[in-house]
Amino acid sequence: DAGVTQSPTHLIKTRGQQVTLRCSPKSGHDTVSWYQQALGQGPQFIFQYYEEEERQRGNFPDRFSGHQFPNYSSELNVNALLLGDSALYLCASSLIYDYEQYFGPGTRLTVT
């Protein structure tokens, strides 16, 4: 049973560029959440997707957007990258109405 997978593993971008990160949820899961984990910090909630809609959003600017596909996989897009966007981006999947989330290994984004 495959767990949560994320791609790419590492990414280096330049300020002002745009980036897309991808996540495949654990088999059977229908809900995907995204988190940003800066160095030395705990994960910060970005948003949650269910039924291809954004259901919940954290305190992140509109530069952060997402998408969920019919197969429940998801993308996180970040526009106009800033140096401060450098972080580990985590995807977590779950079943709606189930509070237990399963986390992927993350994508390490470095903005130079």
């Binding site: 949650q48 954290g58 109405y97 989330q101």
Partner: protein
């Protein structure tokens, strides 16, 4: 605003020592509480969770945690740590969203535990 506080940022113990990591949250509603562990180079893994019932919950690898509602606390304990317990530990609480079925996790800043062999 909802928040989770982990008071110990770095802890160093010798093997066989007892461990207690503090976690306090600020949220007035019904809570679900979690402890996650992140071993070096690995992803977040669930150690244990509390939804309801017995406030003393047992998790994997000999860890346990106690929910004390009056203190808004959910401290993690282990009677005897091992070198392999060296990792970063995160406390988290779920906050329900405005739409039924939605929620988000609020994480603490983490505690880095180093166990000396």
């Amino acid at each position: 605003a909802q928040s989770v506080s982990q008071h110990n940022h770095h802890v160093i113990l010798s093997e066989a020592a007892s461990l207690e990591l503090g976690c306090n949250y600020s949220y007035g509603g019904t809570v679900n509480l979690f402890w996650y562990v992140q071993y070096p180079g690995q992803h977040l893994q669930l150690l244990l969770k509390y939804f309801s019932g017995d406030p003393l919950v047992k998790g994997i690898k000999g860890f346990e945690a106690e929910f004390i509602k009056s203190k808004f606390s959910f401290n993690l304990r282990k009677p005897s740590v091992q070198w392999s317990d060296t990792a970063e530990y995160f406390c988290a609480v779920t906050v329900l969203g405005s739409t039924s079925g939605t929620y988000k996790y609020i994480f603490g800043t983490g505690t880095r535990l180093k166990v000396l062999a």
